[in-house]
């Protein structure tokens, strides 16, 4: 199954491709020394200025793949083969320091639960200005101004007030916006969103999705969107990568995948998301 060449990569010319993962395999070694294969020949690419969805159920390997891009996997992970090319550079060959320069400035990630992802003991303002202080060598004042701007960009109603607040004072939706703001400070070239709206109410989710689509349309933000919700995929993404058991099952444009999925697993996922066959 994994021998099929990745479709999205075929269609895109090499200059269009921002991120290309090829034949990526690996797994975790347990304390007792048992090796569990979790990724098997994962291959797909993310074209510039698109929103690419990475879809799969629990244990499909979508988050492990995303964490690999940022080199955030624990040491128990062992790579067997593959490469992750970001603008032609293999991220897997970078040392810690080189990776740190990429992380947070060129590639940023937003996690599912914003209130856990943010540091509870610092204000939002401090946490966001720290990012630009770290990556852009600006003064404290400049950093705070940038922070206010970026909070405004993610449509937080009163950005100056938000600067003084701690994560626990924010609602789930606002905290997610703040986390997104932190990711946008350095104007990254790739934004990775890992289930950014899971656990939020649908009305709030719709606002956040709109914001993500606007960032893409207006600023050309390339986004890798990890989700299990095919409804979100249908409404926000341009390309789709479907994963199951650590393998890529199908890749294609959003239209292809939603309207005429070829892989049996993709077909089942779509039917299940529509609850087809549930009523008599």
């Amino acid at each position: 199954m994994s021998s099929d060449p990745p479709l999205a990569a075929e269609q895109a010319t090499s200059t269009d491709v921002l991120l290309e993962i090829a034949d990526y395999s690996g797994g975790f070694t347990s304390q007792t020394g048992v090796f569990t294969h979790v990724l098997n020949g994962v291959a797909f690419s993310v074209a510039r200025s698109t929103i690419t969805a990475l879809v799969g159920e629990t244990g499909s390997g979508k988050t492990v793949t995303a964490l690999s891009i940022l080199g955030l996997l624990p040491r128990t992970f062992r790579r067997i083969s593959g490469s992750i090319l970001f603008e032609g550079r293999d991220l897997l060959k970078l040392d810690d320091e080189e990776l740190r320069a990429v992380r947070g400035s060129q590639i940023c990630m937003v996690f599912q639960d914003a209130r856990t992802a943010l540091n509870p003991v610092f204000t939002i303002g401090t946490q966001i200005s720290d990012v630009s202080r770290l990556h852009q060598r600006v003064s404290k004042k400049q950093a705070r101004n940038t922070a206010v701007e970026v909070l405004d960009r993610v449509r937080i109603p009163d950005p100056r007030r938000c600067m003084r607040q701690y994560p626990h004072e924010l609602s789930g939706g606002m905290a997610q916006r703040a986390q997104l703001a932190m990711a946008l400070v350095c104007r990254p070239r790739l934004l990775i969103l890992d289930e950014p709206t899971t656990g939020l109410d649908v009305t709030i989710q719709a606002d956040i999705l709109e914001l993500i689509v606007d960032l893409n349309r207006n600023e050309g933000m390339t986004t890798l969107f990890i989700t299990h919700d095919l409804g979100i995929v249908a409404e926000t993404c341009d390309a789709v990568v479907v994963m199951q058991y650590g393998e890529v099952r199908e890749t294609g444009t959003c239209e292809q995948i939603i309207t005429s999925p070829r892989n049996a697993y993709t077909q089942m996922l779509i039917a299940a998301s529509r609850f087809q066959g549930v009523s008599e």
């Binding site: 629990t58 009305t203 095919l230 409804g231 249908a234 609850f275 549930v278 009523s279």
Partner: protein, 350 residues
Amino acid sequence: MIETRRPILGVSGLHKTFRIRHSGIAKSLTAVQRVEFELYPGETVALVGESGSGKSTVARCIARLIDATSGEVVLGDLPLTHIRGRALSKVYEDLQMVFQDTHGALNPRMTVQATLEEPLRLRLHLSRNEREERVRRLLESVDLGPELLDRYPRQLSGGQRQRVCIARAFAVDPKVVLLDEPTASLDVSVRGQVLQLLRRIQKERNVAYLLITHDLALVRRVSERVLVMYLGSVVEQGTTAEIFNHPTHPYTRALLSSAPVVEYGRVKSRLRLTGEISSAVDLPRGCPLAPRCPLVQASCLDSFPPLLQVTPTHSVRCPVVLAGAGAGKDAIAPVREHSATDSTHGRGRR
């Protein structure tokens, strides 16, 4: 048609307020107010709303996991509101719950066998052999094999755990089962199977389900009627077709138009609410949606809007949208309901 049948569960004038301390000052949080509905044998009614809408509190009040501040809950002919002790435990032969968090719902130190045997031992007083036979059949009825009998919850997958929870709920012969987000923690592929299972059992046993969920696609598939809740009160209720084809209350419309649909190229026309859900602490007297509503008028802030009937099965708590829809106000009869003031059968403790 359903009017001729007798409801198996009746809820009227249900209120629940929690006393809380906010920055050291005693305040009251209105979790549920004026909730009123009936549940008939064999049907599924969905209670829909976002977090903080009070839908779980309604279920917990019905199951007496918490005590309602005021209001009546009647199961068959039996009023549940003041029942206690042994009589209350007897109620659970007819009323069961299935929860979202299957980890929390199962005792980690009890095997599947022990979990399923417990209700049989406590409620039905069967002999050991009879119990073992029943447990095996129960497990079969939720499509699980006998090899799982000696497993502990942590050795089961999420879907398997939820099946065990369902089996436990049906160990006795309940007439009403409260399903609190039964599929929210499951993967989509497993979700369908669990729903299928719940449907099958419902047909076999003519059990009524109160389905509490925020998943609108699920509601559309499995329920006959829908109650939409916002900040503790029902803002719209009707048949599933009425709610999905003619959503009328601004909140229902916002909710339905926000939910993502697995369809390519759908043009979304969202009804947008401003801001986020208000605090349920010291609710203002007007419409709870007023601060966020795009159709808000001065009258909305004055008094709590009544539930107005559109059809015999469809009612909406928004005079503004109904007046605007061209329906003459005279044509719309207010639905009789207990208000906070005339409902005097409170718990009266402390």
